[in-house]
């Protein structure tokens, strides 16, 4: 979508020369398009580059090892979430048959539905989440579906990124749903791992 400079940046207080300068940057941004998400393998540096490798990525400063550990932990959590997603892909349509549907609505007219399936004999609860109208997130950001307790997002049920205007994901959770619990979706900016701003609620 082409963005309008006057809508985004314009203002009567801009000097003509400054406006021209910013307009050029604006045009470049529109022309360039969004930067790609960097794959996890390129986010961190190899642990022990082999002797035979000519390339040895620089050692991380001590402080960044802690950050790397946090990133690794976040990736592990994300992988757990991805496991939910992948693990449920094999479910047949009958297994995914909705027992209960939870509608959600949120900011900027975004909508979602959670189709809760039939819990299996060991307690796995499949769900299909269809989200419409949430923005495609900046690089490194994502969304999290939470169960709420005491009105606050407490129990993560899955993680996702918007690909298109409407995105469908599948999760499976082993949680027992209790009375008074609700669902929310939070927006998680890059580097933020605590529950972020709520963008969808039931």
């Amino acid at each position: 979508m082409a963005r309008d400079f006057d809508d985004l940046v314009g203002g009567d207080d801009l000097e003509p020369e400054e406006e021209l300068r910013l307009r050029e940057v604006h045009d470049l941004l529109v022309q360039a398009g969004p930067p790609p998400d960097l794959p996890p393998a390129l986010e961190r540096l190899p642990d022990e580059p082999g002797e035979a490798q000519i390339l040895t990525y620089p050692m991380l400063p001590k402080r960044r090892w802690a950050a790397a550990a946090v990133i690794a932990a976040a990736l592990a959590v994300a992988a757990f979430g991805a496991g939910f997603l992948v693990g449920d892909r094999g479910a047949s349509s009958s297994e995914a048959e909705a027992v209960h549907v939870v509608p959600m609505r949120g900011v900027s007219g975004a909508l979602a539905s959670i189709r809760l399936g039939k819990r299996d004999d060991v307690g796995n609860l499949p769900m299909e989440v269809v989200v419409t109208g949430l923005p495609t997130q900046p690089e490194g950001a994502y969304y999290t579906l939470y169960l709420t307790r005491d009105g606050k997002p407490r129990v993560p049920c899955g993680y996702f990124r918007m690909r298109d205007h409407t995105t469908t994901v599948h999760f499976t959770v082993p949680y027992e749903l209790k009375k008074g619990e609700d669902w929310v979706v939070t927006y998680q900016p890059k580097g933020v791992h605590e529950p972020g701003r709520i963008v969808l609620t039931t």
Binding site: L42, P58, P138
Partner: protein
Amino acid sequence: MAVAVPALTVRLVTHETDADLIQRAGDGDRGAFEALYRRYARPVFGLALRRLGDRGRAEDAVQETFASVWRSARTYRPDRGPGAPWLYAVARNAIVDRSRGRTDASGDVPERAADEPDPAERTEQSWVAWRVHRALEELPEREREVIALAYWSGLSQSEVAEFLGIPLGTVKTRTRAALQRLAEVLEGELE
């Protein structure tokens, strides 16, 4: 047991020019090389992805690009051009090698720094994206987030404000500040 941190890795390098960093990397300075990696990993990956259309091969091309940078940084001559076009040329050659299925990237380093990339081998779009994505790395995270949402998410500014839970005026302020910062980077570092 205390871990010795190499002195070079704690030097502040983020405000040095690309040319300075390439020259220091050519002298074996890993801190400078790491700073180059932070600045250029994403532009290189974006260029490779656009050219190769495959994330796995694009990842390999990024690795090869920085291997080439590390090996050949000492051949860079700042009097022949800024650092960004030189890095672009190295990346482009590594990507071309990857697209041909070659594994030996040892000969892919330009003999001289180019004033600008070879137009026969790249589109204007790729060069613009390279410069802009490189410049975006200089923005504070909150400004980069607003730019991404305002330009590429399909939200209006009012919707960005609602989405982030901040006043509309703050969105406009951050957008303008981000563009001013980008202008400085693009004019100062990359021209």
